[in-house]
Symmetry: none
Subunit: 155 residues, 2 copies
């Protein structure tokens, strides 16, 4: 028997494997009751085991009928997305590299032409940020958030 955290991790992964939709929705409180622990333990598991790097997306809603949704995303090893995610995780990205990735994303039909143009317009808009370090950082940051959105709301 390992830690509580890994039991919960396994449980969620089992649920995910069984789910036809590719994602699961749980009640944080219910789950914590099932494992007889505090609710924030669930957050700990999600933060440490269901990260983007590991191929998971987590969304949630508070209040009545609240939920936590965990989604498994398929990122092919060594593919465009995994390269992109890795570069983004390093923190920043220059304009040419970003433009290249956006074009490739469109070529691979991961985004539409219009979406690619929308994303490129961000790069141009950022030219007005004076400091190059800051500019590259913000560019990487925005790109990262955009990728998450694209994965969350895949076509």
């Amino acid at each position: 028997m390992g830690t509580l955290a890994s039991s919960i991790e396994e449980y969620l992964k089992r649920l995910l494997a069984l789910s036809a939709s590719g994602y699961i929705e749980i009640r944080r409180k219910e789950l914590s009751q099932k494992f007889q622990c505090v609710p924030s333990q669930v957050n700990y598991v999600l933060e440490t085991r269901f990260t983007l790097e590991r191929g998971y997306l987590v969304e949630s809603k508070r209040g009545g009928k609240g939920f936590v949704r965990v989604k498994k995303i398929k990122i092919s090893e060594g593919g465009l997305l995994s390269m992109l995610l890795e570069e983004i995780s390093k923190g920043s990205m220059n304009k040419e590299r970003a433009r290249h990735f956006i074009q490739r994303l469109n070529e691979e039909k991961f985004i539409s032409y219009r979406e690619s143009k929308l994303m490129e317009s961000v790069l141009d808009g950022l030219d007005a940020v004076e400091n190059e370090i800051v500019r590259d950082f913000i560019r990487g940051r925005i790109l990262g958030k955009m990728i998450i959105v694209l994965l969350k709301h895949d076509v």
Copy 2:
């Protein structure tokens, strides 16, 4: 099954979609009876889901012959985008305002949900720009460029 609030929201939107006049008139009390809740629940739904920023106008009258009228404000894509551009040029485009505009564009079906989330992620990404003046300026600049893309590459 979602919340009561979203059931009522959906019901009203369905009625609106069916209505030829572009607006609907309901009795607050009747509606609350239909959904077996207190009347003020209807106000909650109207206040949170049928706001001006989302493109709805709500009017009402009390007393005998009282009613609640909900109207969808019709606006053209060009109209909405030029309002946006005007606010940007006046420098009054803060983050929340921008977010509402983007959501409105989606609600009006001028952009897809995915595109709206893509645009919103720019707003969040820009939070890392320290200086508020700079941040607002860059946000406006990017938004402006995005709008041009939307106009150019019409769906």
